[in-house]
Amino acid sequence: MQRYSFFNLLRHAATGHRSWQPAWRDRPLRQIYDVIIIGAGGHGLAAAYYLARHHGISNVAVLDMGWLGGGNIARNTVTIRSNYMRDESIPFFVKSVSLYERLTRELNFNLMFSQRGMIDVIMTPGVLRQIRRRMLAMHLYGSVYEPMSVAELRRRVPALTGGGPGSRLPIMAAMLHPTAAVCRHDAVAWGYARAADDLGVEIHQNTEVKALLRGPGGAIAGVETSRGTVSARKVIVAVSGHTSTLTETVGLRLPLQTYNLTAFVSEPVKPVVDVVVNCPDLGVYVSQSDKGELVIGGALDVGQSFRQDIKQGVFENTVAALLELFPSFRRLKLLRQWGGALDFAHDATPIVSKVDIPGLYVSAGWWGGFKAVPAGGMTLAWLAANDAPHPLIEGFGLGRFRHLDYVIETGTTSSR
């Protein structure tokens, strides 16, 4: 792999940047692999990388129906945080944030990781209670939430002039999550893809998996793709909102529903908000990208949906909520809107699990799963390599549904 460094940049400048290698190779699709990973999103690519790096399994094909990094990994609002509620979740997300802190160096790919912190703006006693409770749970696992006064909030985010004493819902408190971060989402996909390719993993784009295939004994045997049959004794499903569509091809029904989550960005402006601002009461959050665009997200659309655009009503509600906090954003032009199809487990906790079909592994229910990519990929690789869950994902198994022992995660639903 050609390393990216200041020295190499200078060296290639001397030859007009004509001798850079592609970041990953296009290779012919073979008929058999040790492991097939379906989905070249964050979780699939990270799992491929860790299979090769930690477990020495590199005879791996990652198959995607579209192009690499064209799914939700490229559609999210890049909030990375560990302010979750449950014992099963917090240590996992703390680990994921700490892996992100080192990832630019590990992958030799600039993720533009910016640990700028997130501030929750609180307007009702119910949310205050819920967030204070989460704070206490987080502190047990080394994740930090710090109460912040309204005066301090106004000082830290001067553009936040709404929610004053005369408004319908005056701001009553704030909470700072100092380790929250943002980073460049495409770079996460590209960085993992490049590093996995370097370790021998093959990435095949435009290769749709039509069905999973079982062998005579009932175990997984491979997949039927738009380019023919490919065999493997281990298959990982990491297709985000499309999980149940795929598993139902072998009769496997899962407690997942697919919903539409959306975002939009403004025209680029000078730096104006240097933290992530999240308001659970109004259902809006915003951060500013390195390009200067305000990246704005809101509540999910109601009802199951596989659409990838924004519904006008959701759009208007989110804009109204944003302007309640930041009245001066009224004049900003909005440039782009989009949506993603995300699956949501029955109890709002992800599913990273073996299933009843030997050799098949599922990683799904990643509602706010961008932050989870490093730890999710690492533990998914462990699961497939050892056929047993990594300690960090023991709470994410399918067995919990069998016992109606849900892990109801409020940290998933009140922000992304």
Partner: protein, 88 residues
Amino acid sequence: MLILSCPFCGERDESEFVCAGPARAPRMTLAAATDDAWVDYLTAPPNPKGVVRERWWHSHGCGEWLIVERDTLTHAIHATRGARHEHD
């Protein structure tokens, strides 16, 4: 924005309604159900790229509960009827 056609009030804007999620299949008799079938019934409603059956409440209208058939890919609405009349 969806336009839902309430059988009692006529065509109304989605913002008058509350979506209450998938309309479940009729409750199975516990004695007849296996553990797996019961868990499936409780936790895994159909998730098709196609038509789902949902319950919607006309909360800012006539107050009736409706059963709506809606396509998850196009959001087209195929049928709306009063939930009380569902099993007639």
